[in-house]
């Protein structure tokens, strides 16, 4: 498999943010558990009273802090950046072109990261969405989840074709498709500036299309599904002092990645008593024995 280039730091931080924001809870909601605990008569224990007392101090500090926060929110720099935001109709048209639908947006919200800043909009009715503009009013990215029923017909066809490639002969139903377009990325970024990405997830398989064509498939494998020759070769890296004494732990959640027609395994081994993992990317197309 070709090397995926090392991303510059800004992309790395953005990647961290997006990945963390994608995390799901293990249950749909904790509200039932919490609400039932609110009904318990022993909710306020001695410990609870002590905590409450301590909390009063922290709560007061929080409120005091927010007064300062409020005055800092509308800074001159942010006010200046607000002037540069293009007309909403222009942004709406752009997003409409991407999605084939008409949307309304939430109120703009300022964002900043390092030296960069701008505004974000949320698409009304979409659970996950973001339209981000930089301080110059240029569109930085569009991300939104679209229900299959609301998806543009051409995208449906592209996704259906990709699903047939990945799951030939199967009738796969998809609930939601993610649409993503990003701009201003460096040339060596694995994501192409201005390219339209569609993605969805079917069980343990993540599928991504780039400009209408199947681009990447990431499948989480059971250990038994891994090609033994590939695993053996990967494990040989740990033999001797090649990794400066790094010990190999048990194989955990191996991934099969198919990108642009090339296959690779990613093996993760527990690597120390701190529970860290050594990430090993297999650098050769791997075909299972037929």
């Amino acid at each position: 498999m070709e090397k995926w280039p090392n991303e510059p730091e800004s992309w790395n931080l953005l990647h961290i943010r997006r990945t963390v924001q994608r995390m799901e809870m293990p249950v749909n909601s904790f509200s039932d558990k919490i609400m039932s605990r609110l009904e318990e008569p022993t909710l306020v224990t001695n410990k609870g009273k002590r905590l409450r007392k301590a909390f009063m101090v922290t709560s007061a500090a929080a409120i005091l802090g927010v007064c300062i926060i409020s005055s800092a929110i509308v800074s001159p720099a942010m006010a200046e950046s607000l002037k540069n935001i293009p007309l909403m109709s222009g942004i709406l048209k752009l997003v409409g072109d991407f999605t084939g639908n008409t949307f309304t947006f939430s109120k703009p919200e300022p964002w900043s990261m390092g030296e960069d800043s701008g505004m974000t909009y949320k698409v009304d009715g979409s659970e996950y969405s973001q339209v981000m503009l930089n301080a110059r009013g240029e569109l930085e990215n569009v991300h939104l989840d679209v229900k299959w029923s609301d998806l543009k017909d051409s995208y449906k066809k592209e996704m259906e074709a990709a699903l047939q490639q990945v799951f030939p002969g199967q009738n796969i139903a998809v609930d939601t498709v993610g649409i993503s377009v990003q701009y201003g990325l460096p040339d060596d970024s694995p994501i192409k500036s201005g390219a339209l990405y569609l993605n969805t997830r079917v069980n343990n398989t993540f599928i991504e299309l780039e400009n209408g064509r199947l681009h990447r498939v990431v499948k989480s494998l059971a250990n038994e599904e891994v090609d033994l020759d590939a695993l053996k070769t990967a494990e040989s890296v740990f033999v001797g002092n090649g990794l400066e004494g790094l010990k190999k732990g048990p194989l955990n959640n191996p991934l099969l990645i198919v990108q642009d027609g090339k296959e690779a395994y990613e093996f993760h081994f527990a690597a120390s008593d701190k529970g860290q993992f050594y990430h090993l990317e297999y650098d050769e197309p791997i075909r299972k024995a037929e």
Partner: protein, 199 residues
């Protein structure tokens, strides 16, 4: 798909539903608290998971945090962000848990030496990816990274949550950025330089 960043530099827009729910809870309508839980539980769970590095720990923590918030909701001032307020509770709750854990750290480390390390199991690819991205950072660094990069709070605001000076946070953030860059370079070296050629 990415959610819009709710960082504290943004203007906090409480929805009318949340404002109404807060008023109802404070007035004695306990059931209205479920609205508040459902609005913010995912963010608080994610925060706790990243700080505690434990699914079970995060599940317990998110419940305790919302119970604490409920008990003190009458003290919440609306000009403040409710999410910021919840993060403050979450931060101190996690600090408390970590400090308690540290008392047993030496004992546990002795036990670990006698046990073969069992690899953690992840419920999905995202959870695994998050763990791998954060595994080289200590809990304080993870906290700053989450609040600064994920939630996009300003250092002043993070300082209010954590109770420390913004200048200190800036220094810590600069250090953790270097750490991430160095880690990235090392990973690249390991992945690209130490790969095995298939025979």
């Amino acid at each position: 798909m990415e959610r819009p960043s709710p960082g504290a530099q943004r203007v906090e827009h409480h929805s009318e539903a949340i404002d109404a729910a807060i008023e109802r809870v404070v007035s004695g309508d306990k059931q209205a608290y479920a609205i508040i839980i459902r609005e913010y539980e995912k963010k608080i769970y994610t925060y706790c998971y990243c700080i505690l590095k434990s699914r079970e720990g995060a599940e317990d923590a998110v419940q305790e945090i919302f119970l604490k918030a409920y008990q003190n909701l009458s003290r919440y001032e609306k000009q403040a962000s409710l999410l910021t307020w919840l993060y403050k509770i979450a931060y101190f709750h996690c600090v408390d848990l970590i400090r308690k854990q540290s008392r047993w750290h030496r004992l546990l480390s002795l036990c670990k030496e006698r046990l073969s390390l069992s690899a953690p199991t992840y419920v999905n690819y995202t959870e695994q990816a998050v763990n791998e991205m954060l595994m080289y950072l200590n809990w304080e660094e993870r906290n700053i990274l989450l609040l600064r990069v994920v939630e996009q709070y300003s250092f002043e605001e993070i300082g209010k949550i954590m109770g420390c000076k913004p200048a200190t946070l800036r220094q810590r953030f600069a250090r953790l950025r270097k750490k991430l860059i160095n880690q990235r370079i090392q990973e690249g070296g390991a992945a690209n330089g130490e790969v095995a050629e298939r025979t």
